[in-house]
Symmetry: C2
Subunit: 203 residues, 2 copies
Amino acid sequence: MSTKEGPQASRRGPYAKSTERRQAILTAAHAVFAARGYRGGSLQDVADRAGMSQTSLLHYFPSKSQLLLAVLNWRDSITGDGTAPPDPEESLVDAVLRQARFNEDVPGVLELYTVLCGEAVTEGHPGRPYFTNRFEELRRSYTRQLRELAGEGRLRPGVDPEVAAASLIGLWDGIQTQWLLAPDKVDMAGCLRGYLELILLPE
Amino acid sequence: MSTKEGPQASRRGPYAKSTERRQAILTAAHAVFAARGYRGGSLQDVADRAGMSQTSLLHYFPSKSQLLLAVLNWRDSITGDGTAPPDPEESLVDAVLRQARFNEDVPGVLELYTVLCGEAVTEGHPGRPYFTNRFEELRRSYTRQLRELAGEGRLRPGVDPEVAAASLIGLWDGIQTQWLLAPDKVDMAGCLRGYLELILLPE
DNA sequence: GTCTATACGCAGATAGAC
DNA sequence: GTCTATCTGCGTATAGAC
C-alpha cells in the first residue's frame, strides 16, 4: 500500500492517492447529480457513494459548486463533447450518429447532461455559464462545418447554416429528453439521421 | 369588498375568496418554480410572493408536490399547450409559429417549462409522470396531423411522420433552452419554420 | 381560515483533535 | 489528510390558539 516516494519523502505529499480520491469523488458526484440534479443531490450522498466523509470530500473540492464545475469539465473529457472538431476524415453525419449511439450506451451521461442543463437556466445556478458557453461554441463549430459543406454544394439550397446548426443542437438535446422518459418509443439516432438527411445532399 | 353571499350565509363558505387565493398562489408558484425550479424554490418563497404565510398556503395545497401538479395543469390551461388539436382552419405551420411567438412574449412560461422538464427526469420527481404523458400525447397528436398531410401529398417523400413528430417536439424544446440562455443569438421561430419547410411541400 | 410556534430533519461549511 | 463534533440556516409539515 505504501507509495514509493524516493529517498527524501519530506516535500511533495502522496500525489497518486490524491488523484485517485479525486477520481472517486468525480465518479460519485457524476452519478448523484445525474440521478438527483445539482440542487437535489447532497454532498453527503456523494461522500457516501465515494466511501468517505463529507468533510473529506470538501478537502478536495472546497465547495459544492466547484465540485459541479469539475464534474462538467470531466464529463467533457470522457465523452469528447463535440466542441472540438475531431477526425477530419469522419463525415459530420457519422460523427453525430457515433456520438449519439455512444451516449445511449454509457449510463448516466445523458441524465447528467439533461438534468443539469435544465436546472442551469435558473437564477444563480453555478452551471449556467458553462452551458451558455457550451452552446455558443457548439453553434459556432457546427455552423463552420455546415458552411464548408455548403461550399462543396452538399447543403440543400435554402438552408441557412446558422439556423441549421442551432436546430441540430436543439433537436439533439430535445430528443434526448424524450428518450430518457420513454427509451422504447423514441429513436434518437433515427431522428438525428432524418434531420441530417433533410439538410444535406448526397455526395 | 364584501362578497355577496345571499340571505342565508351560514352554509357554504366564501368560495370566491378561496378561488382568488388559490389563483394568487398559482401565479406566485409559477414564478418561483420558473426562476428556481421545483427543488430550488421553497414554499416560503411562494408564500411571500403571494402575500400570505407558509401555513396558509398549505391550507390550500396540502403539499409541495400537489402544488407543482396544480401549477403544471394551470399552465396548460393558460397557454393552450398544443396537446388538443385546435382550430382545424389553421395550418400546422401557422399554429406552431403562433404558439412559439406567444411563448416568447409571456415571461416565465418557457422558463417554467424548460426548468421543470429537465428536473423531471430525476429520480422521484413529482412532475415526471406529467412530462412523460405530455410527450406521449404530443407525439401522437403531431404524428396524426403529419399523416393527414402525407395523405394530401404535402409531406416530403421519405419523411416518416412518427420520426418527424418526435423531432419537431424535440427541436422545439431544445431551441427554447438555447434561446433562454442567449435570446439575442437564437431565432426560435426561424428554426421551427426552417424545419417545417424542410419536411412539408408547398400546396 | 389564518396565524404563531414549533417539530424534525438535512443542508453546506468550519474548527480542531488526531 | 481524515475524522468527529458542531455551527448556522433553511426545508416541509403539523399542532393548536384565535
